[in-house]
Amino acid sequence: MSGTFVGMPAFPRAAREAVRDTTLRGNLRHATRTIRDKRARAVAELDDWAALREAGKQIKDHTLRHLDRYLVQVEEAVTAAGGTVHWAADADEANEIVARLVEETGESEVVKVKSMATQEIALNEALEARGVHAYETDLAELIVQLGKDRPSHILVPAIHRNRGEIRDIFRSEMSEWGRPAPENLTDTPAELAEAARLHLREKFLRAKVGISGANFVVAETGTLVVVESEGNGRMCLTLPETLISVVGIEKIVPRWQDLEVFLQTLPRSSTAERMNPYTSMWTGTTDEDGPRTFHLVLLDNGRTDTLADEVGRQALRCIRCSACLNVCPVYERAGGHAYGSVYPGPIGAILSPQLRGTGSEIDASLPYASSLCGACYEVCPVAIDIPEVLVHLRERVVQGGPAVRGGNRVVLKPAKGHAAERAAMRAAQWAFTRPGALRAGQRLASRTRRLHPRTLPGPGRAWSGSRDLPAVPAEPFRDWWQRTRGGKDGAK
């Protein structure tokens, strides 16, 4: 995925920095708590939420089960409607296709609608290398781009920034990219939004090429759907002469009617609105309305590898709503950057190690970036059992085993760095299958209990650095039970 994330440290180390950053903690706490309560209220308005969630899950599962057929159907429908379909097996292929299409227009700048797929493949960097400037037009993406920063949230990539920091970025950076920020810009959100409006207006009005992703692609009609709030999406989708949409192959839904499920669940799950301000739907090209040329780039980039995993494939149901990030207590404290991917939070912890594999230090650490509390699964509008996939990926990390990488079946070796843990788990298993050994260990602990410290040296500090150890009792329960037959002897 994005080159900007290469060489990221493992999650625990990155998270340690974030936990100590009080500004970041405050920003994330404020933003996620605001949206958490609002989401709960928006969802509670629909008394058929559980049925919508189940239908969303079933639509996605059915599509994935027959993905080859639906991909071909998309290709036929989009082509029939006047669009051109391209296929990209990986990020390099997708970037090459888009760069070539832009070059063919003779343009050297493009406007972009916020799109996770193009973030994932680091399209902006690839275009820059070919002399094409890509302007992000979503407010949060603009903040990230101007601040030379990395995204930290799926829906609100600049969630780690508060209004004061955003004002400072606008003041110092906007002039380098185009229209400067107004004099005396304050940190009120309305003024910041206005500054973005003015800054981007000139870019929208002169843009000849727009680049987008899509939230949904309807196979039977060839219709693409972009769900947004600000109107930057509409600008990029309708004003340019050429539109290029890069879409992951898992974004397909079979039928037009399927949108009735997701247009109810997505806005309520993401921005906690009954409906987001703008949704655009287009099918190929329309005479004298919108772009004259439309290209759809269908992106694999690890998705078929994910599809090959019978437990992990449910991650492909994801509609990128961000509800799991907003409710996650680990995300709230670690922040999005610690996940080392454009996909942070619980969904990122199961998506990145599948799309990229578990070979790197960061990807091997992501399945452990969760207390398995299950809050993510509870709010997921397509019922992805994120804890189940996390545990499954932990197994892949420590035990290795069969997997598919780049379309090829491979047998993964157990990851490094788990030798001591593996030995401990095996030792525990040995003791737990021999109650006599367990009992001997318990008794030893009880007899030496006065010698036990409340804090531990070395690796034990991971526990006792912040928590006292529990006191070991005078005898384990099983000794009391055997001594008193469960208190029946009257002994205490």
Partner: protein, 251 residues
């Protein structure tokens, strides 16, 4: 009714008071309790850390030890969830790995008759007033696996509300994880500690003397944090509150 107490390895080793409380409580309610001493561990820590294959012998052992009982009661939401939610999944995975139906068949009998303590009291025995007396201000933390995997709902709250002398106060952010998470507590100790500290601050803000939960592993983390932060509160397992009577008041 004759039931088996599945105490869990953590309670057996570190929290025998909870085990004694369960025995006292159930006996008082007319239940004959047995503690099969061949029991050890359900395998949850192995399973959730990625050692599913190492967890399998422990699950088989559990099924073997407890198969003969009418009901299996455990004072742990997460170990209860391990049996009820994850044992069937272990069976499915073994089948998917081409190892046949044996594991699924061995584990299946114990799954439906395993109950977390508060479920057993409310659903099986049909009681909410267990005749307890506990003269303290208490706040209740619903632990994640009890809350979300087992769906304990308001059962613990109903039991606590019926305890004489007990004042129950609302815990802000109650449904948010305390940060224990098994091996998460050491693998991601900084985030775990931050979550624990927030939980303890919320608990302190209630003015309660006692933070109560139905899982001692979470209470070990919360209690260890309380001690380190030098709060005046203490963690108490719900079984110890419910077992307490006017004749024998628990601390």
């Amino acid at each position: 009714m004759r039931v088996a107490l599945f105490l869990t390895c953590v309670n057996d080793t570190l929290y025998p008071d909870t085990g004694r409380a369960v025995v006292r409580l159930l006996t008082r309610l007319g239940v004959e309790v047995d503690f099969p001493t061949a029991q050890t561990c359900c395998g949850q820590a192995h399973y959730n850390t990625g050692y599913r294959h190492e967890a399998e012998p422990l699950a088989r052992r559990f099924a073997d030890v407890f198969a003969g009982y009418e009901a299996i009661v455990t004072p742990s939401g997460s170990c209860g969830a391990m049996v009820r939610e994850l044992y069937p999944r272990m069976g499915e995975r073994a089948r998917a790995e081409g190892r046949g139906d044996t594991l699924a068949a061995v584990l299946a009998p114990v799954v439906p008759k395993t109950y977390e303590l508060t479920e057993f009291l409310v659903d099986v025995l049909g009681v909410t007033d267990v005749g307890a007396y506990y003269p303290h201000t208490v706040t209740y933390h619903p632990t994640c696996h009890g809350l979300r995997s087992l769906g304990l709902g308001d059962r613990p709250r109903r039991l606590l509300e019926a305890v004489k002398g007990l004042e129950l106060v609302e815990l802000p952010g109650a449904e948010e994880c305390c940060g224990f998470g098994g091996t998460f507590a050491v693998k991601n100790s900084d985030v775990s500690a931050a979550m624990g500290a927030d939980k303890v601050r919320n608990a302190e803000s209630t003015g309660a003397d006692v933070l109560c939960a139905a899982d001692n592993s979470c209470l070990m983390h919360i209690g260890g944090t309380m001690a380190r932060l030098r709060t005046g509160m203490r963690p108490v397992h719900i079984a110890e509150i419910l077992a307490s009577t006017e004749e024998a008041v628990a601390a």
